[in-house]
Amino acid sequence: MMNGWEVVIGLEIHAQLATRSKIFSGSATTYGAPPNTQANLVDLAYPGVLPVLNGAAVQMAVKFGLAIGARIASRSVFARKNYFYPDLPKGYQISQYELPVVARGSLNVMLDDGSVKTIGITRAHLEEDAGKSLHEGLANATGIDLNRAGTPLLEIVSEPDMRSAKEAVAYMKKIHTLVRYLEICDGNMQEGSFRCDANVSVRPKGREKFGTRAEIKNLNSFRFVEKAIQYEVARQVELLESGGTVVQETRLYDSDKDETRSMRSKEEANDYRYFPDPDLLPVEIDEPFIEQVRATLPELPDEKAARFARDFGLSGYDAGVLSASRELGAYFEAVVSILGASHAKLAANWVMGELSSVLNRDNVEIENSRVDPSQLTGLLRRITDETISGKIAKEVFESMWTEGKPADAIIEAKGLRQITDAGAIEAVIDGVIAANPKQLADYRAGKDKLFGFFVGQVMKATSGKANPAQLNELLKIKLGGAKDA
């Protein structure tokens, strides 16, 4: 269906900044408080009140700008975006329009095929969030909750550089990783702390001119971003191929029906009548301030991934996964620091494999993991010193997770210590061979595949505890030795 068409996507990501108070008032920003308990006279836009800029929000915006190699504006200006809506108490939103605080940056995003693509970031600007209209449980009335009104947002606007829904998701995930690294946004998408609008258009391959775009509003999960874009692309292509034209409009994604629907056309769009907010002075940012913020920058995801690959010999993919969050990277590094860099690959496999899967399954954040890095290292040591096999280790890990005991205690209690006594293994092999004369004959007749059958039988008889390397070696001798005879 997509043959002959190129998809063009740009994202406007809204990241709620993790300040304690609102961007222009002293109210708290804590999520989930009873309606209107975190809205003071400024948030309620009472007559006579004035906004005062929260410096922490500016600092966070600058931090983000530095992390994407952007230009930090020495002078940026807050403007009023005028429109009427009940959850917008002033009748205007304070935002930045012509002079944003952050301009022209970029971000490298790793795609599924392992290649790296640079996505341009046009700008990032500060603005205040609106409140919420509540309809549930109110007969013939609409409630207004202004707790969220005035919460600081950083709107991150990309260039139209993405060419598929997957690229868009990869970019959004990268921004998500970055803002959490920088500790400027909690990234909580359920609570709306991180969401985006997607501008989507298609054009015939090879054509330079962009097609007419539709803007899909308020996407609050990676899956919705992907599905909404896919739907929208298919809709536009189908429309164009059947001789229709795409109209510039704002659309909403309905996740229940998996479709986008028109919200308002360009003609119906508001004229926001932007003008500089006379209640706020321009934000002046000087070099010393920028340097002060730069000094607070942590190791960034790309830097961390490069270091993991270089110092621990990890693949680009593994290094990317392990640096996707600060916490995951820290956990991995803690394990490697005890276990030794020579076993980094083993540590990486376990952190990305068993550990990540139980965390996912039980919906636990890694920083709250019931198996901490030193406990996991305790288990991995028993693999490296051949006390247990990798397979048994998975069983031990599951017990560690559920029982909260150290690896050694579980290995001892359950008698899972690997059998490395050659005599003991030989005895079991002899028993297995004796019990399976038919298979023995077939094997010796050339059915090499049956080697696996014998390994399985011995493992079964030893409850998986036989040292696999020893078992292989001894079994080969026993089966082959007889053949020779």
């Binding site: 006279l41 309620l44 007559p47 006579g48 005062v52 003008f275 006379p278």
Partner: protein, 484 residues
């Protein structure tokens, strides 16, 4: 009579316990009760609260506390939010609005021990030059009750002229302190933009609005400004520069002061007004000042510039009055749009609607550059003109208004003629400069105002020059007939 005494004289009697604040307050409340019905200078009287304030001040005075404003009654323009007291801004929109907090100006004057007698009448949302746009009816000029007192702070001006209080607060966006002060024969002082906090002052045009004071002398204005002025962290546009001792600056000799006569202010000025201004120059020269002519070539553009900038800002500032959280809400709205349209349609008067529409227009896509941006550029030119003038002179001088007070109803149907009344005052607002109007004579038995404008933060110099003029003249001591 008590009501003719100046603030320093009242403060002395209070501090010597020759009178009590309660007696003083009762005296003014009696006058208001007797004389205000002819003037309509108030929207809300707070007699009960005033007597409580006075009792509190008397208690402090009894304990030996002293202060230049302790126990002194005042009137607040109804644009300042006053905790627990209706704050209407002269509009039906806020007729039911009881402010839940005090404006910074109110807080500061309260802390100084003042006594609030009430809230004064004003043009609706401070939009007007005659006080005729008030939802509460026009204020009448005590010099001639068929005449307007000027606006928008017409109630504060008339009340000060009628000796209803020693002083009153006001706000000046395009002349709303200086113009009514001129028309009612009192001293009206507009400080530098950012000198006095705008927090709690209901916004008309945020980049122009500035709080100030009406009094019967520059010395009184200095004492009040001393309390009002200062940085306020709640107002990002207030400026953090030290507040000098204004009263201490009053007596400095004017020897060597360079005063610039604004050429543009005399073009089209009526001859009798012009000659009164010429007379003031003689006074200043006799005091040792030097007068030279200066020109502000861009100044004639100030009225059209103002009537782009101010409506633009007001159209946005007044969006919060939507019938949702406070203020007027229409009966039985059928849907959201109906709620907005009728609440605002019913709550706002004609002049406010005119300015909201003008402002919405000049900010609209396709018109923004031609109007709003252009106006900002002209505003810059006007500011530069003033700066160039202040490189040569210390202060500039001219008439406050083109004519004395005009009749109620005379200009109400002709907004452009009404707007031209502010032709001499608007420049100082566009440039953010301090200005003062002082009485300088009479034409047809109506007071005429002299305007002095200074560089940013030249309040002390302006008050000094105004005070020295008043030391040499008696114009500021004249009271309207029936209010002596």
């Amino acid at each position: 009579m008590l009501h003719n005494l100046f603030i320093a004289e009242l403060a002395e009697r209070l501090s010597k316990r020759q009178i009590s604040s309660t007696e003083l307050t009762r005296h003014f409340l009696d006058r208001i009760e007797r004389l205000n019905p002819a003037l309509n200078a108030f929207i809300t009287l707070t007699a009960e609260g005033a007597l409580q304030d006075a009792a509190a001040a008397d208690l402090k005075l009894g304990k030996g506390e002293r202060g230049p404003l302790l126990g002194i009654p005042l009137i607040h323009k109804d644009i300042f939010c006053t905790d627990g007291v209706r704050t209407s801004c002269g509009s039906r929109m806020l007729d039911n609005f009881v402010a839940p907090y005090d404006a910074t100006v109110v807080t500061r004057l309260k802390a100084a021990g003042t006594v609030m007698l009430g809230k004064s009448n004003m043009d609706e949302f401070a939009m007007g030059s005659s006080n005729e746009t008030s939802f509460y009816g026009p204020v009448r000029n005590p010099w001639d009750t068929s005449m307007v007192p000027g606006g928008s702070s017409g109630g504060s001006a008339a009340a000060t002229a009628a000796r209803f209080a020693p002083f009153a607060t006001g706000t000046d966006t395009g002349g709303s302190i200086r113009q009514p002060a001129a028309l009612t024969g009192v001293t009206g002082f507009k400080p530098t933009y950012g000198r006095v906090s705008r927090y709690g002052m209901i916004a008309f045009a945020s980049s122009l609005d500035q709080a100030g004071v009406f009094a019967r002398s520059a010395a009184d204005a200095a004492a009040v400004l001393q309390v009002m002025a200062g940085f306020d962290p709640k107002d990002s546009t207030s400026v953090d520069v030290p507040v000098p001792d204004y009263p201490a600056a009053l007596e400095a000799p004017l020897q060597g002061l360079k005063i610039g006569l604004l050429r543009e202010f005399f073009e089209g000025l009526e001859a009798r007004n012009a000659s009164l201004i010429q007379d003031t120059l003689k006074v200043y020269r006799s005091l040792g000042a030097e007068t030279v002519e200066v020109s502000l070539p861009s100044l004639p553009l100030s009225v059209p510039t103002y009537y782009v900038v101010a409506p633009a800002e007001c159209s946005s500032n007044l969006s919060r009055f939507d019938g949702v959280r406070f203020g007027h809400r229409c009966q039985n709205p059928v849907d959201l749009m109906d709620l907005y349209k009728r609440s605002r349609g019913e709550g706002f008067g004609a002049e406010v609607k005119r300015r909201i529409m003008t402002g919405t227009y000049v900010l609209s896509a396709g018109y923004f550059d031609a109007y709003y941006l252009k106006a900002q550029k002209v505003r810059r030119l006007i500011t530069d003109d003033f700066r160039a003038a202040f490189a040569k002179v210390d202060l500039v001088i001219g008439p406050t208004t083109p004519t004395p007070a005009f009749a109620i109803g005379a200009k109400v149907d002709d907004p452009v003629t009404m707007y031209l009344n502010d032709i001499y005052t608007i420049g100082a607002n566009l440039a953010g400069l301090p200005g003062v109007s002082v009485p300088c004579g009479f034409v047809d038995e109506l007071p005429v105002g002299l305007q002095l404008v200074g560089p940013h933060f030249a309040e002390a110099k302006l008050l000094n020059a105004a005070h020295q003029f008043q030391q040499a003249t008696e114009w500021h001591k004249q009271a309207p007939g029936g209010y002596e």
